[in-house]
């Protein structure tokens, strides 16, 4: 049985590599948010960029956001995981280099080649452009995704190697001896458990994603190499679902590591924790049929699996990680600063966004809500107010000048603007989904425009907040690399 005594852990500064990841993430994230605003402004009829530019920007927004949150999540995971295992800095930097090469390829494909088949590159759309983009532009886009994917495969292989060397296997990284045997209190720390889970699912997801990308690249130039569209769809959604979900599981490591430092309470890898991460490892890989509920050509059991796992998947989020964060903060005397506020609210964002998500995975609901704005409504909630809030919390942690530093009122105002802006923006999306507004429409019917306009105002609020977050992080980059105490002692402890 684990003990609940807290052992102080020193706050370590970030390596130059982690800072490079975070700076790139901050800049690209801001740009992608501006792109997102442009999409909503077009639907609001405040601007008029036309269908071609709408879908080009939509393609960039999707690919850019998925890529950049993965990069930011990897930075969080790598920063903390290296405290436990021996990671290769060279591989970490190679991933960043490959990422940037992939970004240039994608930008060229869309901006110069007019590619606009959406980030999901759903077969056979990339090769079927009706003359609006060339085969070369499609190949450049999918090649860019492939290069980014190869970088992440390298990163995860290195992480797998390091965990196997230190703990003796990936099963041990997930704490299986303690989960299925006696809990001797020696299970790996939450960071290692989460990193093992992410590494397993992402390696499988990325290999499947790379496989379909290569198949589609061959098909572009050799059409006689035929691909089954249903198989392609399954592979794309498997990869897409796993990869985008993994970013949250990477970023939540910031919560596991930082909240205990502020509350001086340990986050233990006990049996319930280990069971929930093993369950999540399996469920993240088998839940993807919930994207395919409207493809009745699939076997019924396959769709029912998506429906059932959708419900089960909420348990680890709500009952273990969400509840665990509440436990560690409840009557802890935690000192609220920008870091702890953002990390605490990130668990709220994740849990609250999971509710409309699992409801959407109900077959009878999906029948009338699939591919409406309900879908971006829920995933923007747990990605923006969940995952991205974790990354900003991490940035504030790294940049905090000293353990007693007070936040400026501007930052506090930005925090509330971020929370209110995100909830207002995502609720506008969800309400639009409720009234059946389809997603990915360049032009909206007049009945739908008022909600688009409301969303646009909230996005401006979010952008203002994010500008403050990013400005603050960049202005404190000098602090972020140094080793010193950042986390404040809890009230009641500081004076003891």
């Amino acid at each position: 049985m684990a003990s609940y005594t807290y052992t102080p852990v020193p706050d370590t500064g970030a390596t130059a590599g982690v800072l490079a990841y975070l700076v790139v993430s901050a800049v690209v994230l801001l740009l992608m948010m501006v792109f997102g605003l442009l999409l909503r402004l077009e639907q609001s009829q405040f601007i008029s960029i036309g269908g071609l530019w709408f879908y080009k920007i939509m393609t960039l927004h999707g690919a850019g956001m998925v890529g950049i949150v993965a990069l930011a999540g990897a930075a969080v995971m790598w920063h903390f995981l290296r405290l436990y295992v021996d990671l290769s800095n060279g591989i970490f930097m190679a991933n960043l280099a490959l990422f940037l090469i992939g970004v240039v390829m994608i930008l060229a494909s869309v901006l110069l080649g007019d590619f606009h088949a959406a980030w999901t590159f759903l077969f056979p759309l990339p090769g079927n452009s009706m003359g609006l983009w060339s085969t070369g532009a499609a190949a450049l886009f999918m090649g860019g995704l492939l290069v980014i994917g190869v970088g992440f495969v390298l990163l995860h292989l290195d992480i797998a190697r390091a965990i196997i060397v230190r703990y003796g296997g990936l099963g041990r990284g997930l704490g299986w001896p303690q989960l299925f045997g006696t809990d001797d209190g020696n299970a790996p720390p939450p960071t290692v458990v989460a990193s093992t889970m992410v590494t397993i699912v992402n390696l499988v997801g990325l290999v499947v994603g790379a496989s379909i990308l290569v198949m589609m690249l061959v098909n572009l130039y050799v059409p006689s190499f035929e691909i089954d569209p249903l198989l392609a769809k399954g592979m794309i959604y498997f990869f897409g679902h796993v990869f985008i979900n993994a970013v949250i599981y990477m970023a939540v490591i910031a919560v596991y590591e930082i909240l205990p430092r502020y509350t001086q309470r340990p986050w233990k890898s006990n049996k319930v924790f280990l069971a929930s991460w093993t369950a999540s490892t399996i469920m993240v890989m088998f839940i993807f049929p919930h994207h395919l509920l409207m493809d009745y050509a699939y076997p019924k059991w396959f769709l029912i699996v998506g429906h059932i796992i959708g419900y089960l998947n909420t348990f680890p989020i709500l009952i273990v990680t969400g509840y665990g964060a509440m436990m560690i903060v409840y009557r802890s005397g935690i000192r609220w600063d920008m870091c702890t506020r953002l990390l605490f609210v990130s668990l709220f964002g994740w849990a609250v966004g999971a509710m409309p998500a699992f409801i959407d995975g109900t077959i009878t609901v999906n029948y009338v809500m699939h591919n409406t704005l309900w879908v971006p409504g829920h995933f923007h909630t747990y990605l923006l107010l969940g995952m991205v809030a974790m990354v900003f919390g991490f940035m504030y942690y790294l940049g905090k000048p000293n353990e007693n530093a007070k936040d400026s009122p501007i930052d506090v105002a930005a925090f509330w603007a971020f929370v209110i802006g995100t909830m207002g923006f995502t609720m506008s999306f969800l309400y639009s989904g409720k009234i059946s507004v389809p997603r990915r429409y360049a032009e909206h019917l007049p009945e739908w425009v008022p909600y688009d306009r409301l969303a646009s105002y909230f996005i401006v609020l979010i952008l203002a907040a994010v500008l403050v977050f990013i400005f603050r992080f960049l202005s404190r980059l000098g602090n972020a690399g140094r080793n010193y105490q950042r986390a404040s002692l809890a009230q009641g402890l500081a004076t003891a």
Binding site: Y4, Y6, G51, L52, Y55, A118, L122, P124, L125, N128, M130, L132, L230, R265, V272, M294, D295, Y296, A297, K300, H307, Y311, T314, F315, L318, I319, G322, Y323, V329, Y330, R331, S332, G333, I334, F344, L347, A351, V352, M355, D360, T362, T364, V365, Y367, V368, M369, H370, N371, T372, W374, L430, Y431, I435, S436, P438, R440, Y441, A442, G492, L493
Partner: protein, 178 residues
Amino acid sequence: MQETAWQVSLVLMSLITFGVIYVAINSGKREEDYGPLVKSAYGFRTKLFWGVALVFFPAMIYNLVGLPLPYSESAADSKLGPAQVINVIGHMWYWEMDRDEVKVGQPVEIRITSADVNHGFGIYDTNLLLVAQAQAMPNYTNVIYHTFKKEGTYRVLCMEYCGVAHHNMMTEIKVGKS
């Protein structure tokens, strides 16, 4: 259905909001001994687990068993007469249908496929609410059964992104007297 999904989401999201606010309000005064707090919190978590399970599992099963699923023939009530069949082919960027008039109150079997890329066949009622949909994809036919309950002109919108004119890919189904 949309209204139910919205209401249930709001209730669940509100419950989480209250829980988080409760913890935030009670975060200030430190209880030094974490062990007993953990013990009582774990006790509450077990209750919470069963509470959530008792709500979620019946809901999950009810939504699978209790309701006719859209792809199941039982969704079409055979007592109301033989199904009227519409064959649909999606093209970039228009719908080809072998009939666009059906009778109210009689089951309609809609057989949906695509000649080029993935599309989504979404039927909107006269209030512009989505009442049924299926993916239209090349090489496969997705079949749904739907009984229109009201007369009127229903709109068909594309529900899967298919290129630059995706948002203009609309047609109509006229539902008349039986």
